[in-house]
Subunit: 399 residues, 2 copies
């Protein structure tokens, strides 16, 4: 039996660690002969753009584990209902004698994997289909958390911490608005709170898409920031006004903040910067964390890297033993000392759901997170990887 793996959706710091886990699992298994990779996700299957990964050395696997972005390339193609597409895909599966297909990705990819699994069952194919979780958004259902989140959260927590020190050097009241990824789920923005400890108050205002943004209450909270301190205000790119409009498109806030058309402005962060500076006269700057938050592997969470690898490795073990139509999920056993188990759960329970930050993790005023979130998130950012550097550069591997 041969296996095939593809990567999909946006890159993360550890999606290649999951790929490394699948390759390592395939190499270890006596049942598996050859390991193939689809270049550019499911699109690569359509295009018959398949490369062999069977001979990967342990040195190459070590580099793969620390290389961000998607080694195999990615796509955003969603499978629809047209049967020809599935027939074409299964022809390629047959051509390469594929017994198990692994699709590493987020919500859309789990939907693709689920559909492929249903089609396999429908046509009586014995091929096993496995979706393997990956998302910095942490919005996949059923699993306690997703590989990719811990490293992105760690980057955010440490960034907000450094920025808070940087901003505080001049003895004046000033504010930094930090725009963080996450259109519908605020998990990554919430991670800004993980940057606080007994030495540094990095942030105390966090605006999540799970709560409607109230400009008046927000301005009141900002105006209460003590002079001489300079905390970071963490805002999700996906925050919405009370009518459900994204802030970048909200006419009410636009009138409140400025007279420009929103097309000429930057994103949400810039919008909130204007709101603060024009209403409170406080010196305000916006920083967008940008794609660095998902790809700056230099500061990844070692726990995240290991769990990403384990999710891949365990998927192979489960699939070769006959499991299909599943995603390996993390089940948390303890918060402290932290312990998880990996268990397979049906893709149908996961695909097309979006897990947002629950009420018990958001403060009553809607502009912060509770201890429940800290307890949940803290273990995920732990551990410093022992990375391979050369001349000051984190070493990467390219296909």
């Amino acid at each position: 039996m041969n296996i095939l793996v593809g990567q999909s959706g946006g890159p993360t710091a550890v999606i290649n660690s999951t790929l490394a886990g699948i390759i390592a699992g395939g190499i270890k298994s006596p049942k598996i002969e050859r390991i193939f990779g689809a270049v550019g996700g499911i699109e690569g299957v359509f295009q018959n753009d398949i490369i062999e990964l069977t001979g990967f050395s342990s040195a190459k696997l070590a580099l793969l584990k620390q290389t961000p972005s998607s080694f195999l390339g990615s796509c955003r193609r969603k499978l629809g209902d047209e049967e020809e597409a599935y027939i074409k895909i299964f022809e390629i599966f047959k051509k390469y004698d594929i017994g198990c297909f692994f699709y590493i990705g987020g919500n859309d990819s789990m939907d693709t994997a689920d559909k492929l699994n249903r089609f396999a069952r429908k046509i009586g194919s014995e091929i096993r289909i496995c979706g393997v979780p990956k998302t910095i958004d942490n919005d996949l259902a059923v699993t306690d958390h997703s590989p990719g989140y811990g490293s992105a959260a760690k980057f955010v927590a440490n960034a907000v911490r450094s920025l808070a020190l940087d901003t505080a050097v001049y003895n004046m009241k000033s504010v930094v608005v930090l725009e963080i990824m996450g259109r519908n789920a605020g998990w990554l923005t919430a991670a800004a709170a993980l940057g606080n400890d007994s030495d540094v108050l990095a942030t105390d205002i966090i605006c999540l898409p799970e709560r409607a943004f109230d400009p008046d209450k927000f301005l009141e909270k900002v105006s209460n920031i003590e002079s001489g301190t300079a905390p970071i205000i963490a805002v999700s790119e996906g925050i919405k006004d009370r009518f459900g409009n994204y802030l970048g498109e909200s006419p009410s806030l636009r009138q409140k903040s400025d007279g420009f058309s929103h097309a000429a402005l930057g994103g949400v962060g810039r919008r909130i910067e204007n709101l603060i500076s024009e209403n409170l006269g406080i010196k305000t700057r916006t920083i967008e964390l940008s794609t660095l938050q998902r790809c700056y592997a230099q500061c990844a969470s070692e726990r995240d890297i290991c769990e990403a690898f384990d999710a891949g490795f365990e998927s192979v073990r489960l699939a070769e033993n006959g499991e299909s139509g599943f995603m390996p999920c993390f089940k948390r056993i303890f918060d402290n000392p932290y312990k998880i188990e990996i268990i397979p759960r049906p893709l149908s329970e996961i695909a097309n759901y979006e897990k947002t930050v629950p009420d018990n993790m958001i403060t009553a005023d809607g502009m912060g997170v509770t201890q429940d979130f800290i307890t949940y998130g803290s273990p995920l950012i732990c551990g410093e990887p022992n990375h391979i550097y050369e001349n000051g550069l984190l070493k990467f591997i390219k296909r």
Copy 2:
């Protein structure tokens, strides 16, 4: 004899390592009794806002070495010619029985230190004044390079490398414009080229303020980027058009790129993004590296941290032996194996000069750097610090 130290200008990842070097030097010296710090630079001297640092433990020094930003706070105050200011400062010096004053900072701070030294000589004071270099811009004259540059350059080099992989995952022609700090000197922008190695071509277009930006030649170069690759275009925030206007304020480019007023646009990066997308129709995004490039100490250069410490430590040794009106400069002995010496040079040779990237380090087309720059810059980003983390967070110390 007591000593006093102040920090000035913008924060860096290693300015506190220099402070740690001065404290360690003061603790070691039998001639020095007490060590004081001025809170908020020279402003703290005026305000008599002085704290004692004498009792710093080695554990606290270790944390100080890895804490970014300015432990003592900073200011942007420049000393003018009014004698009262100097009299006031020297009264404070006398009050605390200060024998040596150390001012850590960039060009403006060296000017301040130079003026204080001249005043000391004029009034016959025996106090010794030392300026200690610090700048991510690397624009201080005489010294081979300045503490702070290596760590910022390392962040840039590794960021551009990660972003290049991130951008390349979808099989389409796309471009990322990366806006990097540096108004008049392109050293930090040039560091993007240090992110290239045999595995990853992270960037091949670099626009420095040392060369006038030519939109036509630039667009021609961008249009020659091969499809399927997605290199990063590194641009300095300080690039100017052929009339010497900053690009954000250039009317000719504004007409070429869009009809908006530049106030509504972002910075230079956004301007160049528009230029590319409107003239070449290539998908383009802008990423501003923001203040993270100077404060993300998690990925600092160990060599930079050590050299910053040594510059501080050596300053104390030189000052207690009678040297005054100097800055400790790095003199490069070898590129490979890298070796420097620290030698004192007069502040008057350094203050108010701005060292830009020399011609031999810039390619003939003005949109890249030569091997001379790579040879110069590569050693400065080397070495991974063995930092102290707690629960995934780089530990900091605050005053």
